[in-house]
């Protein structure tokens, strides 16, 4: 009896507390961010959180959106599809107006349907796999390019470099395999020979067996489509073998740690294609963002994927500022969006929710291990 009374009393208290809390909540706009705060991609996720919370604080310091403060609800997806599904469910129940994130196509894919069923706008960030926007989900957008756009840009860079025999290597992730397949198609169309196509296991330390085999195929250039940790190890061990074939990569290589891992000596001459980082851009938004970021974190952003999360916040903020709080209306508004200035260039979406515009650029690593943006065309 006693226990039941207590439970009832507790329940009543909770109800009162909730009742008191909910009017307070209505004064703020809750926005979901899903990112890998733990796990393999924790450094990406922590950057995503840093960047988006910096922008949210800026919005709030300027008086919020139409007088309402923005509250960021962050959920950790651990870079793992299973955890991502749970994180998405939590966000769907957290009363947010839209969800930003996350890093990794497979991880985003696991959360896509859950967020779609909750009827929320979902703006993907580091998720370039083609099929994410080919499913026809009306509320899904992304601020990163698609693999086929990147595949075409990569093939163009290879053709421009005058390479005739290409070795393609991916890491079995849906992102890297997608990019490798798209590049292969574009390269074959351009008449470039693919002398090698295989996949390595990410997270390992020793890639000498793979490099020994690659060397036997005698390519002009090695194109590894995976992420920067493995790229760094490949460069380092390639140098150790004394093999000086040029190596290139895609946008997942765009991370300063690549040079740390490989060593400046081994990384020299490595080139990759990627959307440019704010510190390489000369737009007003990029400069302003960079100053604010430096002031708070005493460093510069190291990965473009965290910055596109900032762009995702920018478009959601703009939609909310235009009064589009209903998800359907917001999606409609976003699909009309063109040439909005963002952190990584102009922002705009097409009917499928893909970002429009050309924004791949080539970078090369110089003697000091710095990423140098190569001049366009």
């Amino acid at each position: 009896m006693n226990i039941w009374k207590r439970i009832l009393a507790g329940g009543a208290l909770c109800a009162v507390a909730l009742g008191l809390a909910s009017p307070a909540l209505a004064e703020t706009i809750r926005l979901g961010l899903m990112c890998p705060l733990t796990g393999k991609w924790a450094s990406e996720g922590q950057d995503m959180k840093n960047i988006v919370s910096l922008l949210v604080d800026e919005t709030n310091a300027a008086g919020g959106i139409n007088g309402k403060k923005v509250e960021l609800v962050v959920e950790d997806d651990a870079g793992d599809p299973r955890t991502a599904a749970l994180a998405a469910q939590k966000l769907a129940g957290a009363g947010v107006v839209a969800v930003i994130g996350t890093y990794g196509s497979a991880v985003t894919e696991a959360s896509q349907n859950i967020i779609a069923e909750a009827g929320l706008v979902h703006v993907g960030t580091g998720s370039t796999s083609i099929r994410l926007t080919e499913k026809g989900l009306p509320l899904f957008f992304r601020t990163c390019p698609r693999d086929d756009a990147q595949g075409a840009a990569a093939a163009a860079a290879i053709v421009k470099g005058g390479f005739k025999k290409v070795a393609l290597l991916h890491d079995k992730s849906s992102y890297a395999k997608g990019l490798a397949d798209e590049s292969r198609k574009a390269l074959e169309k351009a008449g470039v020979e693919i002398v090698f196509y295989d996949a390595l296991t990410p997270g390992e330390r020793d890639y000498t067996a793979i490099l020994t085999k690659l060397k036997a195929a005698a390519p002009d250039v090695v194109f590894f489509t995976g992420y920067y940790p493995e790229t760094g190890m490949l460069l380092r061990q390639k140098k150790e073998m004394g093999w000086d074939v040029p190596m290139m990569g895609g946008d997942a290589a765009n991370h300063q740690d690549l040079v740390k891992i490989a060593g400046a000596d081994a990384a020299k001459g490595y080139f990759f294609i990627s959307p440019p980082l704010p510190q390489d851009m000369d737009t007003q938004e990029a400069r302003h963002f960079l100053e604010a970021y430096k002031a708070r974190y005493q460093s510069v952003p190291v990965s473009v994927w965290a910055v596109v999360a900032g762009d995702a916040y920018k478009v959601v903020e703009a939609a909310l500022a235009a009064g589009k709080t209903d998800p359907e209306e917001m999606a409609e508004w976003l699909k009309q969006l063109k040439d909005m200035p963002g952190l990584t260039g102009k922002l705009g979406f097409d009917e499928k929710g893909d970002r429009v515009g050309e924004f791949y650029r080539s970078y090369m690593v110089d003697e000091q291990g710095k990423f140098i943006l190569l001049p366009q065309k």
Binding site: T38, Q46, R205, A209, M233
Partner: protein, 301 residues
């Protein structure tokens, strides 16, 4: 043919590390019939401690690179060994009499604890060992240019394994360890301090694991807080391949696994490397369910 030998050497270098880590699994299993899932994370801690000692304490500035590496080897080995003992006291000893499953859950918990502790202390970014620590010379072997550091990794792991083998087979303490592995109750009746022997096993195994972590750090340069997982998985596989509980088995299993992987990558397909390695494991376990050198349970270690 040159490619074959090149791949063989690639495999031996990887396999040497697997073998060193596998020893920790196999020794603990031998005396406690427990899979110490936190072993891979002790390996990670070894790599991080090594970097901290080398860089923060500026040992290489004080002693010169070669002596510093040697000194750090000993220090990391000892520190991780002490951590291993503490782990046994806190996570395993209270559960010694409990259901075996409880100890396994405790081991998994310890693994998660260590991994996240490393992430919180050092952060989630990759750390990189300074380049000048790596011996930079090549040796000409049968007409192949082999990086000297790879030979040193193989040599160091073989030396450590031989030292352990001699210790287990030739000393009184080694005999005590073997006795505890065979029958704890009888060993206690013979006047062996079983608790001390178990502590010793948790001293040696993690010590070797930590040293392996340091070797990986120096050789491959890059360390991160999840590295223990993949090495732990492979080393565990190696221990089973050789016959878990059996020390020469762990050495053989580790080297064999490394070589199988390298040859599978070189001659079949890189993407299928792990699948082939595990296929070989399954085939060996079908023919010899106790592993290559595994014998009757009573003869473990």
């Amino acid at each position: 043919m040159e490619q074959f030998f090149q791949q063989l050497l690639n495999g031996l270098a990887v396999g040497g590390i697997y073998a060193l880590v596998a020893l920790g699994y196999t020794m603990v299993y031998g005396v406690l019939k427990l899979i110490n899932f936190a072993h891979g994370d002790l390996f990670t801690i070894g790599a991080y401690l090594g970097l901290t000692l080398l860089v923060s304490c500026n040992l290489s500035g004080l002693l010169g690179p070669a002596a510093a590496v040697l000194a750090v080897f000993v220090m990391v080995g000892l520190l991780v060994a002490i951590l291993g003992c503490l782990l046994e006291r806190t996570a395993y000893r209270p559960l010694r009499k409990a259901n075996r499953l409880s100890a396994v859950v405790s081991a998994l918990g310890a693994s998660i604890f260590f991994q996240n502790a490393v992430m919180l202390i050092y952060g989630a970014r990759f750390y990189v060992y300074p380049d000048y620590l790596r011996p930079d010379f090549t040796v000409s072997l049968f007409g192949m240019a082999v990086p000297g550091v790879r030979l040193m990794v193989i040599a160091a792991s073989v030396l450590l394994m031989l030292a352990l083998w001699a210790f287990i087979q030739r000393t009184r303490t080694g005999a005590a360890i073997r006795a505890v592995a065979i029958d704890q109750g009888a060993a206690r009746l013979m006047g062996i301090n079983v608790n001390r022997v178990i502590s010793l096993v948790f001293f040696i195994g993690p010590g070797l694991g930590g040293a392996a972590g340091l070797m990986v750090g120096i050789y491959y340069g890059q360390i991160d807080f999840t590295m223990g997982w993949s090495y732990g998985l492979k080393a565990f596989t190696a221990a089973i391949l050789g016959g878990i509980g059996n020390i020469p088995g762990a050495m053989l299993g580790g080297l064999l696994l490394g070589v199988i992987e390298a040859l599978a990558a070189g001659y079949i397909a890189i993407a299928w490397k792990d699948a082939i390695a595990f296929l070989v494991l399954i085939l060996i376990l079908i023919i010899r369910p106790t592993g290559i050198l595994g014998e009757r349970t009573a003869d473990k270690l």
